[in-house]
Symmetry: C2
Subunit: 428 residues, 2 copies
Amino acid sequence: MSILIKNAAILSLDNEGKFSWLEGDIFIKGDIIEKIGRKLDVKADVVIDGKDKAAIPGFVNAHTHAAMTLFRGYADDLPLDIWLNKKIWPVEAKLTPEDVYWGVKLAILEMIKGGITAYGDMYFFMDEEAEAVKEAGIRASLSVGLIAVSGDPSIKLKEAEDFVARWNGEAEGRITVMFGPHAPYTCPPDFLKEVVSAAEQYGVGIHTHLAETKKEVEDMYKLYGKSPVKVYEEAGVLNLHVLAAHCVHLTSDDIEILKNNEVFVVHNPQSNLKLGSGVAPVPEMLKKGISVALGTDGAASNNNLDIFEEMRTAALLHKGINCDPTLVTASEAVKMATLWGAEALGLKNVGRIEPGKKADIVLLDFNAPHLQPKIDNLAQIVYSAGSADVNTVIIDGKIVMKDREVLTLDEERIFKEVQKRVKRLISN
Amino acid sequence: MSILIKNAAILSLDNEGKFSWLEGDIFIKGDIIEKIGRKLDVKADVVIDGKDKAAIPGFVNAHTHAAMTLFRGYADDLPLDIWLNKKIWPVEAKLTPEDVYWGVKLAILEMIKGGITAYGDMYFFMDEEAEAVKEAGIRASLSVGLIAVSGDPSIKLKEAEDFVARWNGEAEGRITVMFGPHAPYTCPPDFLKEVVSAAEQYGVGIHTHLAETKKEVEDMYKLYGKSPVKVYEEAGVLNLHVLAAHCVHLTSDDIEILKNNEVFVVHNPQSNLKLGSGVAPVPEMLKKGISVALGTDGAASNNNLDIFEEMRTAALLHKGINCDPTLVTASEAVKMATLWGAEALGLKNVGRIEPGKKADIVLLDFNAPHLQPKIDNLAQIVYSAGSADVNTVIIDGKIVMKDREVLTLDEERIFKEVQKRVKRLISN
């Protein structure tokens, strides 16, 4: 199958990391971007009119818990311990594999509609999530969440290994996997070392939460006399490819360690704000050259899976609280949402529109009042656009959304299944 | 003309300030909400199906500079002095009355599409803005911006008086007016006193910027030995109905003064973040019982005119930076965006869906993945919904948007006029 996108404004990234716009065509053959240029003289199975549209790399939601769409709007404006202990954990305990399957489908539907072409997840009943990913046509890095402070950790690790063996590279390579030790406070150092050796054995990375709350940091100092980042370093975790979500409470030493170990940080600004966790030192990390991606976190702490909003919040928040309007530029925000997100998931040929890269492309419709006038497309995308401006989504060379209709998922069925299950889950 | 909205989820506010949802019908006669109830037995000229829709009071964008949509995406990520001196002021100097007219039309188009039914503005060429408001069918409180540190202040004040006399109560009462002394640093106390006596004479309020930046506060201390709020108090400004935009840098004494004088504060969280101004002490003001509304500010410092985003940012930001997830609840955010916005504009019969009130009503379509499941509509609106979920907008009893098509404005013409004018404005 081949696709030709004609006359779009194409977002290109040069070798110095500078974005520019090229008016022209994109030719996609199979899953790969084959050619980019003005008035390409090629024949394609499908031709898409790109007029008044911007072609940008698909967004990457580098950290979420997709199935938690089931709990959107269920627990808000509450103290963190009540949110977790009285609301989230009790309903999570009731989840069935099928609940997760439908919650994930709702999440993927929402993400595709918002231009997200790849995401990173850590949760449970991950076989069902992988099935949903396979069917929906999205790209995902999936991890079984590992908590070693309850149950039998070795059985859990074995299950995670089985998942890794079963799913890595499946769905024409759209599914990749990592090990998912939940956090330093739920995975003691001895267990972390076992996870590290399993990850080394399978040649995959680590997806984890790190330094999310002040309490986590205080608890780590009480238990081990050191910061969560240092605990991970000493357990050997940081020798691997690590996607570390949150990184809100860091010392300058911690930032140095993250830099030296090439850790991929995922900033979840809206979730961190909503749960009252605080604000990650993103400008400091960017200045050090740390790769910072964006994530929505789960819908129970956000409450949507919208990377436009995370881009915008990241670009605005750090300017405001540091009283410096030059911090986190539009260009940086777009890189966080695309290329650096792909890097965090370990995807080397995703995240930019360039010949030879995977065809994960989003067409944004600029024919909307909030995107006029046409002055600076990049600023309009970061500071003014929204999910509803996404018109067409191509993942792995396949059109998964056309004119806002997702072709791979049955929206009505998903809404019904989710509503039915939620009714059961939140009843006493 | 009469309208019947059938089977919607209607947002009601009781006398204790508690929101609840009523499944039922709304009957509108002329510009007034006549009846609300289940299965109303009435005949209407137009019947709207409210199934799967929420009927909420129209949003109020209590502080903006509508015509600045012309500069959206023109100046971003810059230090404040360069943004103002090198970018915004030079292009503003080139503006013609017709430019303002078309910029305002673009703004109103965007605002209606985002569910905004009333807004507050201070700018120049306000006759052209008033004409645009009249034609578009929106409600607005308009003020001629007054800067006394250049030109002849008395001529400017006279022009503002003429504007007030000409437009107050026009467009079937949709247009109201205030005097618009720009800020304490551009309006010395003697001039402020003249404005106050003009406002008293005409029986109208004051729309102003107050305590927006740290520099403003420092300059006021240097010049007068007191805070901007105190300068306004001593000039007699606070004896009137005052809509004070920003109020970012306040002492606890300032907050006390705002409370005692019943000042209506307008919080512009995204603008304050983007320009690096800081974060207003909203939780402290709410605790004191100060009425805090929401504004987008102009599009050059936002960059859109979207009250969903301001609601969400207000609800998230204060939780995050105070590490307290119970601050600025969904319910408070909705009040800031509706009832308290109407109060700030001095509109006593707008801002809630109740018999006898003006029919300014927005229908939100809940048939979208990011608004599923249906658990808590209020939380979904604040934490997950967006402008594109607005389906129908009724202002003053007239349908101005139906199924996302704005009936009072010519979208294509507006885009063309704006693009043409912007080309001239930003050329050297």
